[in-house]
Subunit: 262 residues, 2 copies
DNA sequence: CGCAGTTTTGATTCATCTCAATTTGTGTGG
DNA sequence: CCACACAAATTGAGATGAATCAAAACTGCG
């Protein structure tokens, strides 16, 4: 979906706002996600708070939610390790996956507006997130212009990401959606130092199909087709992109008539 | 689409940041969109700045863009009167309408992240917007906690809105999408004091179809069908919802198998 | 009043869904 | 470690919704 959304991410370690004064276990400055994260901006201007940190780490086992729709909104969550999915529930109980998040990406931003989360975030594998109390973050952002800008960028990027998904759902056919999805994963893995051509899907076909707005069978067929034409290699959840250029080309052309590219 | 998104809106009048000190033509406090807007929060806490205002009014004639994709990001825009559409351009030149905005709604938030707009906002009728310089807004928000919260809410609501559209595009069939669209307009008109059952569409069928991710012919057929079954009355762009309850019911049931409502 | 663009309607084709069966994978307990 | 039971994924065949191609009706405008 959408060219680049290796989102800069928000995170923090330790706990509480007074962390500004006390030296916490692991400061944001030393966090491994430093440059993907909120403190990125922080560091630029505010090197006088080397130990700044907000939020605390929390482990999630496979299937465990970070938060559920309806929960009061208090935190936003930065993925430190692992893989999450977010899903929205329709009124009739059916749900739709709205995104997959990997290290350095943020979930929970949708809760700000209404005071409660309207989506659910679930770990697709054992993961670790950094819980950031939003009101503390806001307060801190007040004092740190670069942090404030970073927060706004993160929210803005989420808006862009969502709009990219809209474009994909509105304009691409099933097979193209899958290609866009795979290419998007590829980019995100690449930007994290992993192989862009070979990776492991953490989500089920069902979850992919929900995200892409088609039925599981259709996704399965699309996988098979791309394998048959030699564009990808599939071994259960292990994917290898055999010809990224050709895959991109399939997105760049309106194929049968609908619009292309994400 | 999506229950409520009569977005609180950001606006301002006059111009420049120094407006904090000089008395501008029309202060936010006296703006007719006051309670839909950013100053909403402002007023709660900061009654000591009765003349506060940022941004300036700008008229747009039908078809005129407030900004274009690629333009450097400097302002966000609150619709004061009229009707806008926002659209994203795909790599191959095709475009997709990503939203329609009416009085009290904000456009341009997607530009924050990358420093340039990645969508285009165009007036669907003669309109007036309030241009708010974003960096000034950020600076002002720094001093006004309630304004800051309001800004975050607005961004968060845009995220929720987009996710609602994702759900619609991923889960509903053409006819259901149109119903969701009409019901959404209905709510937004209602929240502005207009009739929820009778209104004028400002956008073309083409634009509706782009937004809903289907072809024009399909939208036209969906209109005709809903008319034939007595759910709506259509006279060109004038729409009357004859049975809102029944329309909602069609969204609440997985119809032929796909997911409904959202 | 006639032309150009938009909207509607019709007929057909095609993509995706649906239903159903099969295969493959996974976890559990013997 | 194997066998079984259950879940996930694939494949097939047919039904159906939406796209496509084509043309007619309508709308607005000079």
């Amino acid at each position: 979906m959408h060219a680049e959304n290796f989102e800069k991410v928000m995170h923090g370690l330790g706990s509480g706002f007074d962390a500004l004064r006390t030296a916490p276990p692991v400061a944001c400055m030393r966090c491994t996600l430093r440059d993907l994260c909120l403190p990125l901006g922080l560091m630029e201007d505010e090197l006088d708070h080397p130990e700044i940190q907000i939020g605390k780490r929390r482990k999630l086992v496979l299937g465990q939610p970070a938060f559920r729709a309806g929960d009061p909104f208090e935190m936003i969550y930065a993925v430190r390790t692992g893989f999450l999915k977010t899903e929205m529930l329709a009124a009739d109980g059916r749900s739709q996956v709205t995104g997959f998040q990997m290290a350095g990406e943020v979930v929970g931003l949708d809760g700000i507006g209404e005071g409660f989360h309207n989506s659910t975030a679930i770990a697709l594998e054992d993961s670790e997130v950094c819980q950031v109390p939003f009101n503390e973050l806001e307060a801190l952002a007040e004092q740190e212009p670069s942090l404030r800008r970073q927060l706004h960028k993160i929210m803005s990027r989420e808006i862009m990401r969502d709009q990219g998904v809209m474009l994909m759902l509105g304009a691409l056919r099933a097979e193209e959606r899958l290609i866009a999805f795979l290419l998007n994963l590829s980019e995100r893995f690449a930007s994290r130092g992993y192989s862009p051509v070979e990776f492991h899907l953490r989500m089920s076909r069902e979850e992919i199909s929900s995200y892409l707005g088609v039925k599981v069978e259709t996704i399965s067929r699309a996988f098979s087709y791309l394998r048959d034409v030699g564009l990808i290699a599939v071994h259960k959840k292990h994917i290898r992109l055999l010809d990224i250029t050709a895959l991109k080309a399939r997105l760049a052309t309106p194929a049968t008539g609908k619009s292309p590219r994400f």
